[in-house]
């Protein structure tokens, strides 16, 4: 590799669009993902707000039933495939994994760029259904057969988009696994890695081993639409339950692709702001692997009501409960980390605490759905919608925002206004809970999901929920506005280590130089969170 002048940081140096979209620098690729992800996230949010507006009052207000079906499908496809599956690994994993390991890039930098390009192509395909063809799919993001085989909307393109996006996910996962195995700095054993790296490691394995199944299943949907051979369509001899199995064999582990990186973020934030070592390092590290492993065998709990033997349901239910154990281990360890710590309350910590609170609600409501008797009542109600938004948005989404506030000074070498950030956080927290908690109640009352209309007795929770969506939207605008303002106008230089963290990224300049370090990073003596023997970080 040619020698590059290194007194410049990664944002300086080459300029222009092409120096970004063809960059093999993991930091630039991380930011490319960030900008794309935030754009798609905002599209998804807009669709969500439209849905909430329609549901403000019973009856048809704003959207046709068919339009509503297409909007909730597109909302799901965008949020899941374009935002939350890539979110933390593609942005913060790409940016910080190599720095935290003390190296200058991922193992396959060009493959990394290819992943981004594949992601963008997939995203364009998914969004193209808005304009071309017979309109976006109206099947729900699960593309359940036989409806997905028969509907006149543009399912083929949506499904192909998901297939292409899967490739991007696989290649990122592959890259991270090899990077973690090959590029740790000397002296950093597996058990001295930051927990974020452990979380990404577990996630990458799921990406690698689960995604191909959805790929081939979606290909079968496409083939079925072209040839109509009766693979999944029962009217011509196919088995729709088989499709559901194949779909969830991927899509349940995918839930952990979304959640595990968030656990990694929280495990970074808490020790830094409590100024003490993480409680139960090994327990947290191995519980990630345990979740990844057990998570592979519980897909059947999505299908308790769609036709499965009693034995099958019983086994899937027990296995589902098993996942609660490693997850609870993490939560207990996080809380124990705060105990007798020297807690510094900054914006990222607020997000981490909100994560723990909301993720616990998400987790416990998940157990109700994993239990056979209650699931019969709750299946396909708003309780499910509330549950997974608590896990995905209240969990992973908040961890994503927390990470953004945590690493903002490192990524751009600027500082945001903390007061505004805290206000935005408060609005997000209140808005989020006002939006989704009533859904749990409406679900318990029996309101089914995926309808543009509902009976009058569900009016109150729906009204509160829609009010919540407005508060949340204001919070989001304030949060992003504050960060964008800081990006353009901030004069404050945060220095190398604004939060007093001791993982390796805090030892380098902000923003980092092109090859990440300007001097040899120093490992703490006993693992990554050893605040007793912390390295002195000079400016």
């Amino acid at each position: 590799m040619a020698t590059v002048s290194t007194d410049l940081n990664y944002l300086q140096g080459k300029k222009g669009l092409f120096s970004w979209i063809f960059s093999v620098d993991h930091k630039r690729i991380g930011l490319l993902y960030l900008y794309a992800l935030i754009t798609f996230f905002l599209v998804g949010v807009t669709l969500g707000i439209l849905m909430r507006l329609e549901l403000l009052n019973p009856g048809k207000d704003l959207l046709e039933a068919q339009t509503y079906n297409q909007i909730f499908t597109l909302h799901g496809v965008i949020m899941i495939f374009l935002f939350i599956i890539p979110s933390i690994p593609a942005v913060f994993g790409n940016f910080f994994l190599p720095i935290m390991l003390g190296t200058d890039d991922v193992s396959f930098p060009r493959l990394n760029l290819l992943s981004w390009w594949i992601y963008i192509i997939g995203a364009i395909m998914a969004l193209s259904t808005l304009i071309f063809g017979d309109g976006p799919a109206d099947t729900g993001w699960t593309f359940y057969a036989p409806y997905s085989v028969k509907t006149g909307t543009n399912v083929t393109m949506s499904v192909l988009a998901a297939f292409v996006l899967g490739f991007s996910s696989i290649l990122t996962g592959l890259n991270f696994i090899v990077t973690i195995h090959r590029l740790r700095t000397p002296g950093m054993t597996f058990l001295k890695m930051p927990l974020f790296a452990w979380a990404l490691y577990a996630t990458s394995w799921i990406q690698l081993l689960a995604t191909p199944i959805i790929g081939i299943t979606l290909m079968m949907i496409v083939a079925e639409r072209f040839f109509g051979v009766g693979l999944f369509d029962p009217s011509i001899g196919g088995d729709p339950i088989l499709y559901q199995h194949l779909f969830w064999i991927y899509s349940h582990p995918a839930v952990y692709i979304m959640a595990l990186p968030a656990f990694g973020i929280i495990s970074e934030l808490l020790p830094t702001f409590a100024r003490r070592t993480i409680f139960g390092y090994k327990a947290i590290a191995f519980s990630s692997l345990a979740i990844a492993f057990v998570g592979y065998f519980i897909w059947g709990h999505h299908m308790f009501t769609s036709g499965m033997s009693g034995t099958g349901r019983f086994i899937f239910s027990i296995l589902t409960f098993l996942v609660a154990i490693p997850t609870a281990i993490k939560v207990f360890n996080w809380v124990a980390t705060l105990y007798k710590g020297s807690i510094h309350v900054h914006t990222p910590l607020l997000y981490a605490l909100a994560f723990i609170f909301q993720f616990m609600i998400g987790g416990f409501t998940g157990l109700l759905l994993g239990a056979l008797a209650t699931d019969i009542h709750l299946h396909d109600t708003y309780f499910v919608v509330g549950h997974f938004h608590y896990v995905m948005f209240g969990g992973t989404g908040f961890a994503f925002f927390g990470a953004l506030h945590y690493w903002f000074p490192k990524i751009w070498g600027k500082m945001y206004n903390a007061k505004v950030a805290n206000t935005a956080f408060t609005l997000l927290f209140i808005g989020f809970n006002t939006l989704y908690f009533p859904m749990l109640i409406a679900g318990l009352m029996g309101m089914p999901r995926r309808y543009y209309d509902y009976l009058p007795e569900f009016h109150l929770p729906n009204m509160i929920s829609t009010f919540g969506s407005w508060i949340l939207a204001v919070g989001l605008i304030l949060m992003l506005g504050n960060l964008i303002y800081a990006y353009f106008k901030s004069k404050e230089k945060p220095g190398r280590n604004p939060w007093g963290g001791i993982t390796l990224e805090w030892q380098t300049q902000s923003p980092p130089p092109v090859q990440n370090f300007d001097r040899m990073p120093e490992l703490p003596k006993n693992g990554p969170y050893d605040f007793e023997h912390k390295p002195t970080i000079k400016e």
Binding site: T103, P186, G215
Partner: protein, 209 residues
């Protein structure tokens, strides 16, 4: 990459790392196995439901042609393995010739496949054709899965052939040497996988009675 102050990180993603490349290839092969794994599950489920029909349809396939193709692929796996040994020993010419032999085997396989498929299509057994539509459901599924799975496999043969072509080109240009032969090894790994999948497809469609 070197820092202005002369500081160099010990590990770099921009260094050549043969171990990393091979690890990456192995991980990729896992994903390929799972891709076909989904199809094997579908095959298994429908074979259990439509046992008789699958049995009946399997007699339609030409075991001789299938056997020849199996032998061709096994031989090609051997030639590419020999090519790797040749490059390790520094015999570039032999290595390239063995790669050509592998490439030839890939082409022979595709030609035989072409004749097999066209005879099936000639008999109207391709999904969407009139005769196919008149078949009982189970038999239709058998031929559908036959075309889907062998088709996907054939696509992998084509990709493999292109990769081997690249290896030949780069070896001739002197970019693959006895010290630097990861590319040949990775092509070999991929080719063995393609071979291995056929080893499963062949009995599933042609032989099980």
């Amino acid at each position: 990459m070197e820092h202005a102050s002369g500081f160099v990180l010990p590990n770099s993603g921009h260094n050549r790392d043969a171990e990393a490349s091979k690890m990456g290839m192995w991980l990729f092969l896992f994903t390929e196995l799972l891709l076909f794994g989904g199809l094997f599950i579908v095959y298994m489920v429908y074979r259990m439901i439509n046992h008789e029909a699958f049995l009946l349809s399997s007699f339609e396939l030409d075991v001789t042609m299938g056997t020849i193709n199996t032998v061709v692929l096994l031989v090609s796996s051997m030639t590419i393995a020999m090519s790797i040994t040749a490059i390790q020993k520094g015999n570039i010419k032999l290595s390239v010739n063995l790669l050509y032999a592998t490439l030839a085997a890939a082409i022979i396989f595709m030609v035989i496949k072409y004749f097999e498929w066209s005879s099936k299509i000639h008999h109207g057994l391709f999904p969407g054709m009139d005769y196919y539509e008149s078949l009982p459901k189970g038999e239709g599924l058998f031929f559908y899965l036959y075309f889907f799975m062998t088709g996907l496999h054939a696509l992998h043969i084509i990709i493999g052939a292109v990769i081997i072509g690249v290896v030949i080109y780069r070896t001739k240009k002197g970019l693959v040497t006895s010290e630097k032969y990861t590319l040949t090894e990775n092509a070999g790994l991929y080719w063995h996988l393609v071979d291995l999948i056929w080893i499963y497809l062949f009995p599933l469609f042609y032989l099980i009675h």
